[in-house]
Structures are given as structure tokens and as C-alpha cells.
Symmetry: none
Amino acid sequence: MEDKKQLITQSAIKVFQEKGIEKATVSEIVKGAGVAQGTFYLYFPSKLSVMPSIAEVLVNVSIDRLIEKVDHDQPFSIQLEQIIETIFSITEQYRDILALIYAGLASTEHLQEWETIYEPYYERVASILEEAVENKEIKRDTNPAQTATLLIGLIESAADQSYLYDFQNDDKIEQKKKDVYKFSISALI
Amino acid sequence: MEDKKQLITQSAIKVFQEKGIEKATVSEIVKGAGVAQGTFYLYFPSKLSVMPSIAEVLVNVSIDRLIEKVDHDQPFSIQLEQIIETIFSITEQYRDILALIYAGLASTEHLQEWETIYEPYYERVASILEEAVENKEIKRDTNPAQTATLLIGLIESAADQSYLYDFQNDDKIEQKKKDVYKFSISALI
Amino acid sequence: MEDKKQLITQSAIKVFQEKGIEKATVSEIVKGAGVAQGTFYLYFPSKLSVMPSIAEVLVNVSIDRLIEKVDHDQPFSIQLEQIIETIFSITEQYRDILALIYAGLASTEHLQEWETIYEPYYERVASILEEAVENKEIKRDTNPAQTATLLIGLIESAADQSYLYDFQNDDKIEQKKKDVYKFSISALI
Amino acid sequence: MEDKKQLITQSAIKVFQEKGIEKATVSEIVKGAGVAQGTFYLYFPSKLSVMPSIAEVLVNVSIDRLIEKVDHDQPFSIQLEQIIETIFSITEQYRDILALIYAGLASTEHLQEWETIYEPYYERVASILEEAVENKEIKRDTNPAQTATLLIGLIESAADQSYLYDFQNDDKIEQKKKDVYKFSISALI
DNA sequence: AATGAATGAGTATTCATTCAT
DNA sequence: TATGAATGAATACTCATTCAT
């Protein structure tokens, strides 16, 4: 049943988040999922092979958040703020695990999958940019797909820098959001 | 002797690069360094504690490359191209290990060090921006330090996306460099 | 149906032969037999309990070969040659699995069965000896049953030595057959 | 130190003998040897790779026993009795483990070693036969080396049959020794 | 400082066996 | 009878770390 695969993936997210890639144990993952040790290997050939499944979940979460938080009826500048807000909040919640996926996937052969998995996320942002071009809110020569990847990369790296250190205070983070907003709005208009 | 610490760090870079964080073993690192097993622990308290040393090496390499490749006498637009070129080339060479450092550091308690280590790298780019402000080549209200982190993040994430997949061809990569150039120059001017 | 028991036994022979006792898995045996995992346990209480079934098959094959290859109408010396030929050919084909049965049975509680299973094989050879005694072709005081076990042991161990190493060439093997013939004929006449 | 290798081999003999090949655990072997788990793998690359070491020990024991028990000053017939006695006693003590070595080696790549290891044992018996030829106690055309392997195979297989079943009583075993003596003396003279 | 043999805790993975269907 | 998903006990093997020399 696909059900168990989901249970395992969910539990793996939690465990990887709490323990990191090396300290995370399959036995803890299955305990959290409420299935037997062997069941894990019915769905995943190895400990690291859950990674693409986890990535998929995170991408879906990200897309859902974008849909939920970004209001198409607002002008682009507001939408950009909302995108930044959303990516910062996702990064805050999942940054440890995003790093792990990144490192984990980089060390396996799942790279091809990775591209496929992330595609819809980039597309979501691209379509927002496309609409802004049509509405003449941003440069007419903006390539939505290209720009979306740059924009996401920019915001994510800014968010990473913000949340990397626990002792970062809220003011600094808000400042960072403003910086990245100014930088990107300036790039786009 | 400080010499052996260097040997170990260099060997560690190679081994981490080849094997990834999980498969890398202290025994292979010391073999590569030509020292005994115990010697490792004379210089590093644990396996993961080489990470900051590795990061330091990479930062120094990066700074050296920037100094070497970026020509202060050129106009800022040329210097920006050179910065992009440099960061792309560093990423190409070290992206696996950068991911590992990132994941490795994120899962340890070396975060404080991390900030200190990376500081000079950001500063290097900041000083280039500062000069450009003084020369009125970019917006006068640009905050060099803030903008440097954003700019580096933007370029690095673009480079990551470019080199993540082996099958990326050179044309796509050159295109990516142009995209990131256009995006950032537009943000800065 | 007795049919499936046969399928499983046949598949087990193949798998044990290919993988050895430790690497052989029930899952591969059932795959080869085209039945489900659970079906195995409908016919055999445990993995090792196929062993007597396998032994039975091999004994039957051996007896059939003896019947087919040894010609009662020939003088004993010819029959002895034929016996040697037959045992060598059986050993060549099944020596790995014979060793496994031996080791496998030795480590279980199926020993009693083992004796019963092998009995008809010994008897077959004993009856050949008996006839030779009656025909005064070999020593009159030969005890057929006793001598049969010795003779079979002698020939089997010679064959084992011959086929243990892949690199044994045919000449050496033919020589071994002659040696064992000379040795045994001398013992019997 | 070669010392620990010996300790491990000795302990392995005991554990394999008591538990059989599948139930024997490395952890029990090292416990018996009084060394740590990891130490095992300092001397042997895998569980099964102790087998050649065990075989070597057994061959040495066998040779020592032959030297001790077979009296060169006695006539050959007496020496043959002593050889039979010796091989039976070795088989009684080690038959389980001999089967295991046999199966174990058959499933590994140590076959070449096996031949080398056993050589001195065959040679020991061959030299006894050689002397008997010289003393004209047995057939002048006896090839000592060839005959030694046959003779050992014959006696070992007889001994195996004797000790295979726990319920064999001493009378039967003594009878078997006599049978094999009669058979072989008749073959040799 | 340097060594490297020894340690032993730790865990991914396997697979015989069960049992609800 | 037959299935095959699920189980979970069992274990070989690894490797970071220590410490006597």
C-alpha cells in the first residue's frame, strides 16, 4: 500500500530533521512510522533512497504554500513580497533537511529525478512572472522560466544566510527580507 | 608541525570529494596524508571537525581567485563578469564539497566558526562594490556589505543549478552566466 | 499437490548449487519454482528441511544411472569400470550439492532419514557384488553390503579429489579412474 | 601479533564445531578468543575466511598424530592398522568441522590454498607406503603418492560412515576398522 | 609528536517465517 | 491450498576513537 510509503517518508523527514543525516537511523524512522524494520526495505532499497521522496513532499508543500500565500489579484510588487515571505518561512522550517537532501542527493544517482521533482516549483514562480510581464508590471524582455530560477536561488540563499545562525534576531531577518526585495525588484523592473 | 594539519586537510578534501560524507573514512584520509591513524586526532578532535579547516582552505582559494581574476582597473560591469566567471569556476570545481561542508557544518556546532571563516570572502566582494559606488558606477544607495551577500548567493545558486547535472552542456552554462549577469547588473544599476 | 513439492525441490537443487548453503534464500527458491513465498512452508517446515528431499532426488538419480550404465551381463571387471564411470559422472555433476547436503544434514536432525534414503543406493552396488561372488569372480568371503559401502566411499572420495579443482584436466581424471580401478580390483579379487 | 590469529582460529574451531556453519557467530568466536569484534577483521576479511586457517590446524594435528601413532619400526601391516586407527580417531574428533571446511572451502575461492594445505598430510602417508615398497611388504608397482590419496580417501569415508550416526556402537566401529583394514591390505599386497 | 594495533559500540540490511486474505 | 505483504530477530561488518609504546 502506498500508504506505508507515505508514513515512512513523513517519519524520515522528522528524524532526519532532528538527527541529521549520519545520526538518523532506519530503526528510528520505522518506529516513528509504526511499521517493522523490514517494511522500510519493501519500499526503499536503502536508507538514503528516501531522499527523493522527501524532496517531493517538500516541493509539494512549497507549491501549496505559494498557492495559498501569493494573491494573484495583488500587484506584482505585493506578490513578490509574498513570495519572499513564503520562501523565507519554508526555509526556516526545513533548512536543515534541505541541506541534507542536497548533500544526500548529490551523493547518489538520483539527480535526474531531482530535476523532475523540482520542476513544478520553478514553474509556479515562472507563471507569476509571466503574468507580471503580461500586465507590464516588470520588464517586457524578462524570460519567466530563466528568471524564476534566479529569483528563487537569490531568495533561498538569502533565507539560508538568515536562518543559518540560531542567534539571528527577527530584526535582522526582516531587514534581510527587505534587502532581497529591493535587490530583486530593482532587477526586475 | 602545522605541516601535517595541512596534509590532513588536503587529503580530507580529496576523500570527501570522492566518497561523500558518509563513505569518507578517517583511515582513508590519513592514508592519503601519509600519516598514522592516531595522528589525525592530534590535530582534530573528531572526523567532522576537519570541516572548518576545509572551509577555510576553500575560502582562501576563492579569495585568491577573486584577487587574481578581477581587475580593479576595469569598469564595474567587466569586474562583475569576472566575479561571475570566478564563482562559477570555483563552484564547478568544489560544488560537491561545498554541499558537504554546508550539510556537515549544519549538523555540528561549528556554526560560529563558519561565519568568521566566510567573512573575508564577503568582504572582498563588498569592497569591489564599495569602489563601484564611489565611482558612481552603481546605485549610490547600495549597501556594499548587504549587497555582497545577496550577489554572492545569487551567483552561487545559479552556478549550483548549472553544475548539478553532469549532462549540462557548455552552451547552457554560458547562457546561465549571461542571465545572472543581466539580472544582477539590472539590480545594481 | 505433490507436484509443487517437486518444483520446489528442483528449484532448491539449482539454487543451492549456484549460491551455496549460506547465500541460498527461500525467496529465490520459490521464485525459481514459480510459487509464492508462503507455499514453501506448506511443504517444508524450514529452509534446511528440503535437504532430505534433495538427497532423495540425488539418490534416485544415482540408482537410475547405475541401472542404466552397469550391464549385468558383462563380467564383473567391466561392471566395476562402469560403476566407477557412473560415480565419477554423478560427482562431477553434483559435487557441490553433495557437500552441502552432507554439511546441511550433519547440522540438523535429519540424520536418521539420511540413512534410510541412502540405503537403496548402497544396496544396488551390494547386489552387483553379491552376484560377482556367486559367479566366483571376486573373493568368496566378500561381504557384499560391507564391501559396497567401502567401495562407494573409495570411488566417491577419488572423484571428489578429481573434481575439487576446476583446473584438473581430463587426463588426470582418467588416470584417477584407472588408479581407483586397479586399487579396488586388487582389493576384491 | 600472529598470536591473536591463532587464538581466533582456535576459538573458531570450537564454535564451528559446536554450532555449525550457519549458527556460528563472529561475536561468539571473538568472545572465545578474548579479543574484540574488530580484531577479528584485522586478521580475517570475513567470517568464512578463517576456514583455511582451520584446515591448516587440522592438517597439522593429523600429521602430528600420524607421527606419534605410527611406528616405523613395525611391519607395514601394523602401521596400516595404526594409520586406520589414527584417521578414525581424527575423524571422530573433527568430523563435523571437516564437513564444514569442505563445504566452506568449496563455496569460496580458497581452493588453491586447500591443495597446498593438504599436501603434507598426503605426503606423510605416501612416505610410509614408499618405505613399505622398499621393504617389499607391498606390491612393487605401488605408486606411493597416488595410492596414499586413495587410501586416505577410503579410510576417511569409512570413518565418516562410522561416526555419522551418534547411535553407532563401538562394536560396529571396530568392525568397520577391520573391514577397511582387510579391504586395503588386500588392495596393497 | 607520532604510531597503528586494538577496541567495541553501533546499524544497515537480510531473510526465514507468519498470517490475514 | 495458495498467496505475498509484513514482520522483526539476528549479525556481519565498519570505523571513529583510544592508548601503550
